[in-house]
């Protein structure tokens, strides 16, 4: 056990699974870097250095740099998964899904069902998501709602270094296609992370803090924001549950419903575009299944319905923050049920 970054936790997760299982391979654009050049091999280890060192340990047969052909190599990863390998394919930025989505949602996701249960496709696709990097509209999106919508995919969104290691090992051992979302502004986040491999099961939310007044569900990096807001609220005498669902498919609705049964108030924080996102998904299930427990409206804290702007001040306005969460929770505390006319 020692302090490790989110980046290092990911690297360790992949390395330990590659050691354990010779069918695990890694592929992506510059996951090593230096292919065909006269300079250093493993020059990059991925665009932000996450897979650095893997090619040195496991060689170019198991760590494959790809051409700039996402449909080709993500499809190849799907085909390899269905025939005996366990590929961990990197799609650099999730924003690039638009050139290879078919291989994910019509092929890998549907093999098992279309083929009558005879296919097993242990595929992991890692990708960066999220705003805050000043990377503008085509490199800052969340997009996990699109994948959550698709039956046959699993969707994992780890919120800290500890979480990312356990969830990635689980993803690699899992027998279904997994889309694994890494937050690009969290790579240098640091916390205690065990050295040895461990898994965190899918579909079990993490109740990161407990309280009596408001339940806050937050996705990915928003878990930090939610806890920051909860700290502030606690000083004002308002205590919160903060739930990190960890995986949005499968989604642990039970934990959310249980907490709402206790608090009667729910705030959902989602960095994804506001239409048909995780906030609406969770809200709708609660409004259907726990209506009787609700003491107030369900509040959603999301970005506006716009692309991600480049200008730093606009981007900061775009992303949900602790202020907005705090305000939402307080509004619920102040809500008075009016008798229907």
């Amino acid at each position: 056990m020692s302090k490790k970054s989110y980046r290092q936790a990911i690297n360790e997760a992949i390395a330990s699974e590659m050691r354990r299982d010779p069918t695990v391979i890694v592929m992506g654009e510059d996951v090593a870097g230096g292919a065909g050049t006269k300079g250093q091999q493993d020059a990059w280890g991925g665009v932000l250095g996450v897979t650095k060192g893997l090619i040195t340990e496991f060689g170019p047969e198991r760590v494959l740099d790809t051409p700039l052909s996402e449909a080709g190599y993500i499809g190849a990863a799907a085909g390899a998964a269905a025939t005996g390998l366990r590929p961990v394919a990197e799609l650099m930025f999730i924003d690039f899904m638009g050139v290879c989505f078919d291989q994910i949602f019509n092929q890998a996701a549907k093999f098992r069902y279309m083929f009558g249960g005879k296919a097993v496709t242990p595929l992991v696709i890692r990708a960066m998501y999220g705003a805050g990097f000043r990377a503008a509209s085509q490199h800052s999106q969340c997009l996990y709602p699109l994948f959550t919508h698709i039956p046959g995919l699993k969707v994992v969104i780890p919120s800290s270094p500890y979480e990312v290691k356990g969830l990635l090992i689980q993803s690699i051992r899992d027998n279904d296609p997994v889309i694994f979302f890494e937050n690009k502004v969290m790579y240098d986040d640091i916390e205690e992370v065990p050295d040895e491999p461990y898994t965190i099961p899918f579909g079990e939310a993490n109740l990161t803090r407990e309280g009596d007044d408001v339940t806050i569900v937050a996705i990915g990096r928003m878990v930090k924001m939610a806890n920051e807001a909860a700290d502030r609220l606690e000083k004002q005498g308002i205590t919160c549950n903060v739930i990190d669902p960890r995986t949005t498919s499968p989604m642990d609705f039970d934990t959310i419903l249980d907490c709402v049964a206790d608090t009667g108030r729910l705030v959902i924080v989602d960095e994804a575009s506001p239409r048909c996102n995780m906030a609406t998904d969770i809200s709708a299930v609660v409004a259907q299944e726990a209506f009787g427990a609700l003491k107030a409206p369900i509040k959603m804290v999301c970005p506006p319905h716009t692309p991600v702007p480049f200008a730093p001040n606009l981007e900061d306005l775009f992303v949900p923050n602790a202020d907005r969460i705090e305000k939402a929770a307080k509004a619920l505390m102040n809500y008075q049920i009016k008798e229907p006319a």
């Binding site: 051409p67 799907a78 098992r112 069902y113 005879k118």
Partner: protein
């Protein structure tokens, strides 16, 4: 022609099975009993048969919407295929896939595909598995002239080349993508395209089983020996419309009939092997009878087989969830 008598009978049996399967579906579809879209492979049999003759179960193929022929040639059970096309529970995919999604991975058949160009990337993956696990296997991507214009197909040519994968790209050019002529939709030529990516390629008469068989042998041997990908441009023709129900008015009147009369792969095969006295007509007639019976049984069985049950709707989405 270094094929044994047994091999020749197998080749003929495969082509005959495909032909009869498709001709019967053509008839059955017209009755309205078969649901969904059905794309028939009649006329193109020599391609699937000539290529898959070289394969065993360690080898993989990826097919297309026009997949029945590839399935049969790769050894998928004909009874289970017919049941699948009727949407029955004992279909090869439990009735959940239908004609456009017939697959049997255990047989090395990675699926028909409802997405044109869906197969080539997948087959690169199967080839990567073969290369990584050193199975000795090769992987075949069947795709049409229309599919040759999909970015997925073109990217796969490059990927297979630079990773030196044991892939054979088989472009089955039947002259049409739906109602569009390949003379309109395909810039350049298939063989030059492959060469543009550094991949050896050859054009083959797809009506001639032996031409396909020989070209495939060379490409597959090269792939098995670590020589990387090849591409075969198989010139062929589909006797029926794009899908069942297509009036094929985009053809010249008599066009299909002429090809059927002059260049049919079964007729050609029979002519060659009997002339060369490798087989007698009665050997082939016996195969015909055998297959006629098989198809009859398959259709009877499929029609009578039970549908999936309500619970089947929810199963097979995930291994675990």
């Amino acid at each position: 022609m270094q094929l044994s008598r047994e091999d020749l009978l197998t080749a003929y049996r495969t082509m005959r099975t495909i032909r009869d399967f498709e001709e019967r579906l053509h008839i059955e579809f017209a009755t309205g009993e078969i649901p969904g879209f059905v794309h028939l492979y009649s006329g193109e049999e020599a391609s699937a048969a000539g290529i898959c003759m070289h394969l065993t179960e360690r080898d993989h193929i990826a097919s297309t919407h026009r997949g029945h022929g590839h399935c049969i040639a790769k050894g998928v059970d004909v009874m289970a295929m017919m049941s699948e096309i009727y949407g029955r529970k004992d279909g090869v995919c439990g009735g959940k896939g239908g004609s456009m999604h017939i697959a049997e991975i255990a047989k090395g058949m990675l699926g028909a595909n409802g997405i044109v160009g869906g197969g080539p990337p997948l087959i690169c993956g199967a080839a990567l598995t073969a290369k990584t696990l050193k199975t000795g296997g090769v992987a075949i991507a069947f795709y049409g002239d229309g599919a040759s214009n999909q970015g997925t197909t073109l990217e796969s040519l490059n990927l297979a080349k630079i990773w030196n994968l044991p892939v054979i790209f088989v472009c089955e050019d039947n002259g049409y993508a739906e109602a569009t002529s390949s003379s309109y939709s395909v810039g350049g030529t298939q063989t030059k395209r492959a060469e543009g990516f550094g991949i050896p390629s050859v054009e083959v008469d797809g009506h001639d089983f032996f031409a396909v068989y020989d070209a495939a042998r060379e490409a597959i041997q090269r792939a098995r020996a670590g020589g990387g990908p090849s591409m075969l441009h198989v010139k062929t023709y589909r006797y029926y419309g794009h899908f069942e129900g297509d009036a094929t008015t985009y053809r010249e009147p008599g066009e299909a009939e002429k090809v059927r009369k002059e260049r049919d792969c079964l007729v050609g095969f029979r002519g060659k092997v009997t002339e060369a006295a490798l087989l007698e007509n009665k050997d082939l007639d016996a195969v015909d009878a055998e297959i006629a019976d098989l198809i009859e049984r398959a259709v009877k069985h499929a029609k009578a087989a039970p549908l999936p049950t309500e619970e089947d709707l929810l199963t097979d989405v995930y291994v675990s969830y």
